[in-house]
Amino acid sequence: MSWVDAVIQGILIGGLYALFACGLSLMFGVMNVVNLAHGDLAVVAAYVALGVIAVTHVPAVWAFLIVVPIFAALGYVLQRTLLQAALNRGVRTTLLVTFGLSVVIENGLLQFLSANSHSINIGSLVSDSFSIGSQITIAYLNLAILVAAVIVLLGLQYFLSSTQNGRLIRAVADDPEAAQISGVSYRHVFGIAAAIAFGTVALAGIAFGMFSQFDPSIGSDQLLLFAFEAVVIGGLGSLWGTLGGGILLGIAQEIGANFRPADQVLAGQLLFLLILAVRPHGLAGRREAT
């Protein structure tokens, strides 16, 4: 029975990983930017949510409505300035720039907010749960995060397939130069994609802050890695692959933890390596994605 529970808990946590991963996947898919600051940005979002809640005393859930738009705007501005400047010098430069951003963010947080860990207080909701049978307990928060992840992915899917900006994002992802000579400002479209990616990472960061303790270093130590693994397992270019990748990663971790708590992260890593070895384009990814 504990195995069934591990799988169910893995599925639930997988929603959170998918939320982390979809922004990373989008930025790589559209502008070839591997955002190494992705995890740190999630942590910043959690800190900003803490600040917003402390200052305005709004209920924790409302923090989303304030922080996510701020991060979307930040994403657009950062893409149009720093990241575009890096892209103009070559895709590899973006790795250095986002790595530098990651270091600056992490150390800035350590400097000004200390290494103490925090959590976004959502009262009793964090521990409320319901039971199925005698062995399986499902926390409302975990379920809510999974549902939110599915809604976000559905929304993203609709946006990309059926709206004007979504169509332009796909066109620019296919061929930025051909998009330019078709009259599309690819820089603006890159900005929109970055805004979406930053919005989702803020969402994921705040959800994580409610779900768990966070500190300045967890972004690059864990969150970036998990997001990266979920993207690779699921396959680039597929939103539902990303959800599947997040869920598989979650299941692997929970099963690993079932053996020994210390094996939790290791089990996820092993699945990641296995997928890389056997199916490098991921479960749902297109083969030409490199």
Binding site: Q164, R167, L168, R170, A171, A173, D174, D175, E177, A178, A179, Q180, I181, S182, G183, V184, S185, Y186
Partner: protein, 274 residues
């Protein structure tokens, strides 16, 4: 000046290499100018620079007397300079119709709409939901042309339409040129297929190593002149004895296009097709 598109002393570098040497060119409204030349002569570079994809080292590009040299490619589309790129460059993960819709992003007002493109290529309406990657080369070229037309260009830049297409398909596409001209489009075409260029152009320019070495109306130019301009003086002897008429990819089909080429036979009417 009555030229709609004017290029003045345009020099372009690719890193250390100078691809264009002070090229000047004037295309009057309603004309079809063709640019021919061997591989690496700078034809595509010229067209891509006019479209805004390369930044010139010096020189300027004017549309209807207004400088567009500082504009980004998408801004030039809005001004009316639109290119059909070499190799079609459709968006493979978008459908035919979505490719056309993307083409309308910076569209000017004008006669061309997605519907009128469907009227021009009647098969396209039925297959508008297909992904562009599933089309044949000729069909993709038609969609690429349609994607440029829906922007309602004043100047249409056609880069190597014939590349990789069967001659019959190429002729069918070039046969549409009169209808494009009727709609008020001015055309600058880059073409390796000299016979095709001679057939459609009101004026021919030949690029050799980044310089325009020959320009004139097709009827005024002799095959020998074109041949020298195409290959350069030094290559003349090498090519002189081997009139194979092979329509190869690397060599120009000059000898095939202009059959009675004895060097003296002037004013040969250029044949319609190879």
């Amino acid at each position: 000046m009555t030229a709609l598109l004017e290029v003045r002393d345009l020099s372009v570098h690719h890193g250390q290499l100078q691809a264009l040497h002070e090229v000047s060119l004037a295309v009057p409204a309603g004309a079809v100018h063709a640019m021919i030349g061997a591989n690496g002569a700078g034809k595509s570079t010229l067209l891509r620079t006019i479209a805004g994809l390369h930044r010139p080292t010096s020189g300027s590009i004017l549309l209807d007397g207004t400088g567009v040299t500082a504009l980004r490619p998408e801004q030039r589309v809005a001004a009316g300079v639109v290119m059909v790129p070499e190799g079609r460059r459709l968006f493979p993960s978008l459908t035919v119709e979505e490719n056309l819709v993307v083409g309308t992003t910076s569209a000017r007002q004008g006669p061309w709409t997605i519907q009128s493109v469907y009227d021009l290529f009647d098969w396209m309406r039925d297959r508008r939901g297909q992904h562009a990657a599933q089309l044949s080369g000729g069909e993709q070229q038609a969609v690429a042309l349609g994607r440029a037309l829906v922007a309602n260009p004043r100047v249409l830049l056609l880069d190597e339409l014939s590349l990789g297409l069967a001659p019959v398909v190429v002729r069918r596409i070039y046969a549409l040129l009169p209808r494009l001209l009727e709609s008020g489009v001015t055309v600058l075409v880059v073409e390796q297929d000299v016979s095709q260029a001679l057939a459609v152009a009101s004026r021919l320019h030949c690029l050799l190593e980044g310089r325009i070495v020959l320009a004139g109306q097709p009827a005024e130019l002799t095959p020998a002149q074109i041949e020298i301009a195409y290959f350069g003086q030094t290559a003349r002897g090498r090519n002189g004895n081997g009139r194979s008429g092979i329509n190869g990819e690397s060599g120009p089909p000059v000898s095939a296009a202009i059959q009675p080429a004895d060097g003296t036979g002037q004013q040969e009417a250029p044949g319609g097709g190879a």
